[in-house]
């Protein structure tokens, strides 16, 4: 997966709750450790990443490129700020101020479906440009987009193309077209799917892939399955556990509980293996599927833990 870090844009997608932000941050650390000036961009002000990396507590300003040290940066993108920046960038000062205070304009923007997504991804695109539009900004070698949960993830990736088609001309169409070209080009954009080893996330991943192929003409560069339990008990051992559970002969409470935990582990690990296999079958041979281990001692994410996961991914 190391080749993923060589492209200017890496999009990490997946259903909510599968640890997408973890993977985005881990890859960010791996890239920074290899000397790539990297920024991890997340959408909406969730800020899980910076909380994990910088231990920042409380509100973090949105739309600010923050240096987390060691070549890694972070930004939280909200559409409102993206719009403001876009308008300022495109128009003379007086006019942009006027627009900013125009309710009509605000209505129209809110009412134009997909515009929020376009603005969001537009900012991501801007971050990935060698000559930054943002005054005083430095270029990045790599931008990692922690995409919104799957459904919206597709919307974010397809909005530029949709706009380019709908608008046909004018700056929005031109820019939409440019952004779309970048997103649709596997040389410039790598899309990584993240799932957990459960039925729904695997289904979503397969559905997402179909949608991306249809609407963007892009495929996954790789897939990551998070939180996979190791196969700790062999078949014979699992059978011995079943026997012990069935006999219940003079079992102490603690012993019975331990056996129950072990049996639960057997059942879960088996279900995990089946789901990983299903994902591999569904994606076919061309797409590498990597697994990350389940972390029991998982209280938020310490930076060293993230770094370890990142190294594991790009091994």
């Amino acid at each position: 997966m190391q080749a993923l870090l060589d492209k200017p844009l890496l999009v990490v997608t997946g259903k909510g709750g599968v640890g997408k932000s973890t993977v985005a941050a881990a890859l960010g650390m791996a890239a920074a450790a290899r000397g790539r000036r990297t920024i991890v961009a997340e959408v909406a002000a969730r800020d899980d990443i910076s909380r994990a990396l910088a231990g920042a507590e409380g509100a973090v300003p949105t739309f600010v490129e923050r240096d987390l040290g060691e070549g890694l940066h972070h930004i939280s993108i909200d559409p409102e700020s993206a719009l403001e920046e876009y308008v300022k960038d495109q128009l003379p000062r007086g006019v942009s101020d006027l627009l900013a205070s125009s309710r009509l304009f605000a209505y129209l923007v809110a009412a134009t479906p997909g515009l929020r997504e376009l603005l969001t991804v537009g900012k991501v695109w801007e971050l990935a440009q060698p000559d930054r539009r943002t005054p005083g900004a430095h270029p990045y070698d790599l931008v990692i987009l922690d995409a919104p949960a799957t459904g919206h993830g597709v919307a974010v990736l397809t909005a530029p193309g949709t706009f380019a088609t709908a608008a046909r001309m004018g700056p929005v169409a031109r820019q939409g077209g440019k952004i779309h070209q970048m997103l649709a080009d596997p040389e410039q954009t790598a899309i990584v799917a993240v799932a957990t080893a459960e039925e729904m996330p695997v289904n979503e991943t397969l559905t997402l892939r179909a949608a991306l192929r249809d609407e963007l003409g892009q495929d996954f560069a790789a897939a990551v399955v998070n939180g996979v339990l190791p196969a700790r008990f062999r078949g014979a051992e699992a059978a011995a556990l079943e026997t012990a559970a069935a006999s219940r002969s003079g079992v102490g409470v603690g012993g019975a509980r331990a056996v129950r935990a072990a049996r639960a582990e057997v059942a879960r690990a088996k279900a995990h293996r089946a789901q990983v296999a299903r994902l591999r079958r569904g994606l076919g041979r061309g797409i590498e599927v990597r697994t990350l281990p389940y972390l029991f001692e998982h209280d938020g994410l310490a930076a060293d833990e993230l770094a370890r996961l990142g190294e594991e991914l790009v091994r």
Partner: protein
């Protein structure tokens, strides 16, 4: 102590909100099934059910209308749909629901086709983030008005969007307030005087930024929409009233993982702000922590496993790991109770089986609807 039946007494609309991947859809379906078993006519509206859950409910194909779930599906699974009870289910197809709404509200066929054929509408109505939320509330409103059901259980898109869900009626009303739109459609004469200077500039700018064609399309789009405005407005206001009604309740569904917990707390705050009725917290996939925590020795376990010491060590290590989870979950539960303001949430332990078939649904239902001493008992049986 307040069990689920008490919490839902007299409610016509139950909205299950929360982060993605916490079992919200299964929870919604199990609640609907349980209410039907208690003699209510219930409809569950799901957004994106697992295929096998859809199969279990017999709603494999997308339909924009509810379908009756055959009572026989539960025969032999320990659930009897009660006297007078009916279970209906539907899977929401946002695009189709949107189209139908336009068709319903349009004053005539021409207006309807103008919108449905409009490029902007077509290009964007299916891809719109937010269309799911909007169509979900629109559907909810229609089902409630139909009088066909005693209770509607609504599964929502993932939590961040659940906010969109709360805002949807407002956003729409705001946008469709008419004034801005009329100005947009008639940017001259009296209208221009009303807004005063600047309108012309706004239009010039919009044209520059978006391209003329888009403007034309947009104005046709908005022009066509103007015919359905009153209907939208009325509906949005109705939906808003329905969501804030005493007969509506929001259940916040979560799992003990950190992110869903934060989302649940965040969403609870939003509910407060919006003065929406909160019915309680459902915590799925919890590993209950055993009240006693006497250490388990590998020797004791080995005795039970025919003396296999190596296996016993692995088993004890596994129990230790599960206790880590149980302690983590206990901490999450404390935080949830405090921040969400529900000191006795409905708790469903982590189930290792498959919860996507009828048996799974019945099992989840048993935990959700447990009352009195049975609640404690079920949790202690699952404790580590």
């Amino acid at each position: 102590m307040s069990d689920l039946v008490e919490r839902l007494a007299g409610k016509r609309v139950v909205v299950c909100a929360g982060s993605g991947g916490v079992g919200k859809t299964t929870t919604s379906a199990a609640i609907a099934m349980g209410l039907a078993a208690r003699g209510e006519r219930v409809c569950v509206v799901t957004i994106d059910p697992a295929r096998r859950l859809a199969d279990a409910l017999g709603i494999e194909q997308l339909g924009s209308e509810p379908r009756r779930v055959d009572d026989e599906r539960f025969a032999g699974h320990g659930i009897v749909i009660g006297e007078g009870g009916e279970l209906w289910a539907m899977m929401l197809d946002p695009k189709r629901t949107f189209d139908e709404l336009i068709a319903k509200l349009a004053p005539d066929d021409k207006a309807r086709d103008d919108i449905l054929d409009n490029r902007i509408y077509r290009e964007l109505s299916s891809a719109v983030a937010g269309s799911q939320e909007f169509t979900a509330v629109a559907k909810l409103y229609d089902l409630d008005r139909s009088g066909q059901f005693d209770v509607i259980v609504l599964d929502t898109p993932p939590s961040r969007n659940a906010l969109d869900f709360l805002d949807a009626p407002d956003r729409l009303t705001g946008f469709l307030e008419g004034r801005a739109l009329r100005l947009f459609l008639a940017p001259s004469g009296l209208a221009a005087k009303v807004v005063g200077r600047g309108t012309g500039v706004v239009f010039g700018v919009l044209r520059r930024v978006t391209g003329v064609d888009l403007m034309d399309d947009l104005s046709v789009f908005f022009g066509a929409l103007s015919g359905v405005l009153d209907g939208f407005r009325e509906r949005a206001a109705g939906v808003k009233a329905l969501l804030a009604d005493d007969a509506t309740t929001f259940l916040i569904v979560t799992s003990p993982e950190r992110e869903p917990v934060e989302e649940a707390i965040f969403f609870r705050g939003k509910l407060r702000e919006a003065a929406m009725p909160f019915g309680g917290l459902v915590v799925n996939r919890l590993h209950p922590l055993a009240a006693d925590d006497h250490d388990v020795s590998a020797e004791d376990v080995a005795a039970e496993l025919g003396g296999d010491a190596a296996l016993a060590r692995k088993v004890v290590r596994t129990l230790d790991e599960f206790r880590v989870l149980a302690r983590r979950d206990a901490g999450a539960l404390v935080r949830l109770k405090r921040e969400v303001g529900d000191d006795d949430p409905i708790v469903v332990p982590h189930l290792d089986g498959d919860v996507h078939d009828v048996d799974g649904l019945v099992l989840v239902h048993r935990h959700l609807f447990a009352a009195g001493a049975e609640r404690e008992e079920l949790l202690s049986e699952a404790a580590f």
